[in-house]
Symmetry: C2
Subunit: 170 residues, 2 copies
């Protein structure tokens, strides 16, 4: 897989800052290239994630949009396969291989209730289990499986801080 972008739907000021911040950290740590946040343009949040990138390396971008639909159309034009994580989607175990065949994948994750258009505009709705879930946890499983676990051992280029074996506790 060449490029994975996360689209975070419906970010609200204050209330969502920690949860969206976790989404950003998961996206970055588990190999996504970018997160686009729909909703409130949260400058503090972006600053804190940009700061992580500066210190810990790699390329990871945080940007904002006022329209998820505009983003979906833009990414589709660029050849992205559009997926959406929802308990109403197809079981992940059944579709993971077919998703992996795409070089570029957009993955939409909700927060508040997602409008029906998100289901309709997606090429594939995917359920990471059929139970009430956390979008943070669902995104983590999704990325880890798409990359078959290899993302965990990836080096982040240009890091000022890097943990090595010497830092490991038993």
């Amino acid at each position: 897989m060449e490029e994975i972008v996360v689209l975070r739907y419906g970010h609200r000021p204050y209330r969502d800052i920690r949860v969206t911040s976790h989404c950003c950290l998961v996206a970055r740590a588990l190999g996504a290239n970018k997160i686009v946040i729909e909703g409130f343009e949260d400058k503090e949040l972006k600053k804190s994630i940009d700061n992580v990138v500066k210190r810990w390396g790699g390329k990871f971008a945080v940007s904002f949009t006022d329209s998820w639909l505009k983003e979906v159309k833009k990414f589709r034009e660029k050849g992205f396969y559009i997926t959406h994580l929802s308990m109403y989607g197809k079981p992940f175990n059944e579709v993971v291989k077919s998703i992996r065949k795409n070089k570029k994948v957009l993955v939409i994750i909700g927060s508040q209730k997602v409008e029906i258009g998100v289901y309709q505009e997606s090429d594939l709705n995917v359920s990471i289990g059929k139970q009430p879930h956390s979008e943070i946890g669902a995104l983590a499983v999704y990325l880890d499986r798409l990359f078959e676990g290899k993302e965990l051992d990836k080096k982040f280029k240009g890091a000022k801080i890097e943990l090595t074996e010497k830092d490991e506790k038993k």
Copy 2:
């Protein structure tokens, strides 16, 4: 694996309610049997998760403790293998198979900075990648890999609500 229990370290009132709530949902949805929360005894949080269990089925317990150390000792006596998720741990890809050999596993996840004793008391510190992370995301990857993805297709007994193929969107 027979039994996996999550120990959530350092839950603070108000500030942590959404994040800990995500931890509970991930633990339940991805096959853990129980979560023990150390810190503030958050009755609202427990009520909301108990309510999920009542409606969506399965057995999943939320309880509180005022001492993580007491819990670690108690679970160790019961034969649990004690793991702790931290970027300073052993790389997950290297240790996942050895963890799977244990029938009963406790997994400690932090929130605020974890005291050094947690590292020392654990049988194994495990890193889900060496990058700043979300404990919610790390827990999700940990459980999904321990259960080799099978937990996603598990049926939850006694559910009042159950999603089936008919509910799936394309």
